[in-house]
Symmetry: C2
Subunit: 201 residues, 2 copies
């Protein structure tokens, strides 16, 4: 903004809203105005909710998830299968898998991937915690739900090496055609993988 259009508190609100992913400078102004108009119904509860989240959010000491309790909702849920751990890079991946709702397993959040170029080694990730969980026993399968990137695959291989001889089955997500996807738009790597992993019809 070139000129001040409102008091410093409103300007600051707009500036901060513009840093929220999904909002740019223009939509931040629109959002600020909407919040101002819905002061009691939306802005006040949102301010309170954010304040509470700031106070209560912590990292789960078991799995590395972020939540307002430690151990987190996933680790304390009694209906989950203790024998399977799904390993993800980030909390957003955990949330995505939960939305899919395909498995009621436990999780382990690595907090990133191995990336020597960025100086991220095994000690920067939550890998030791994973090895300890497996060593503690009771886990029969580890599903490596890391991204299908070079870093993700490198991390997957490193973890597999660390778990060598611990008697746990290590699996990874299937490669293939996305549901609803059109072959014409898919890359060769995905198509080759989908062909290799073809299943009976």
């Amino acid at each position: 903004m070139s000129k001040r259009i409102a008091g410093p508190e409103i300007e600051r609100l707009i500036q901060l809203l513009a840093k929220v992913p999904g909002l740019g400078p223009r939509s931040a102004r629109r959002a600020a105005l909407h919040l101002i108009k819905k002061k009691e119904q939306l802005m006040e509860p949102l301010a309170v909710a954010m304040g509470e989240a700031v106070d209560k959010v912590r990292i789960c000491s078991t799995c590395g998830n972020v939540d307002t309790s430690d151990p987190c909702t996933m680790c304390t849920d009694p209906r989950r299968d203790d024998t399977t751990i799904i390993v993800v890079e980030d909390v957003s991946d955990l949330w995505a898998l939960e939305r899919a709702g395909a498995m009621n397993a436990r999780y382990h959040v690595l907090g990133g991937t191995l990336s020597p170029l960025d100086g991220i080694g095994p000690d920067d990730l939550n890998i030791r915690g994973l090895v300890n969980r497996v060593a503690a026993g009771g886990v029969s399968e580890l599903i490596l739900a890391v991204n299908a990137t070079v870093e993700g695959q490198t991390t997957a291989h490193y973890i597999t090496d660390q778990l060598e001889g611990m008697g746990v089955k290590v699996t990874r997500l299937a490669h293939g055609v996305p549901v609803g996807g059109e072959l014409d738009y898919l890359d060769e790597g995905t198509l080759s993988a989908a062909l290799r992993s073809r299943t009976a019809f």
Copy 2:
């Protein structure tokens, strides 16, 4: 969300964020996660900024603008021309005109448009305040920057009638081709108006 993916505080934060214009349910989750990760740098300041805005935002008793002071930033700015008032429907229009930065005039925010079908009459809008400002003297021009809709134009006519005989010049925004606009995509009404209002080249 079908299943609980995190503690109630985080779920509530996501629910409230999803009500912010520009964010949907999916981007609200992404925004919540980003806020949690940037707890100190973004979420805490944003919570504070919203709390302050809740406490301080008020409606300017002179022009109807929303701001953290009354009279507002626009009404107290000493560099603005007191003889011209730009009449807008909503604060968002005021902000849009300020971004254009074309005029250093005063503003008057109506808070909507006349709409008999929705039961919005002259007393529901900030029209009496506008007439009083003009009656107080010192205003030579009133620019009706209302939307080019039926309601906007009806409101413009009503205001013009109310100011009859008060010796103030009433103008409205020009109709024409938007800058950067392609004729091919413009409606007939706009093209006709642009032709009628053609200017020397």
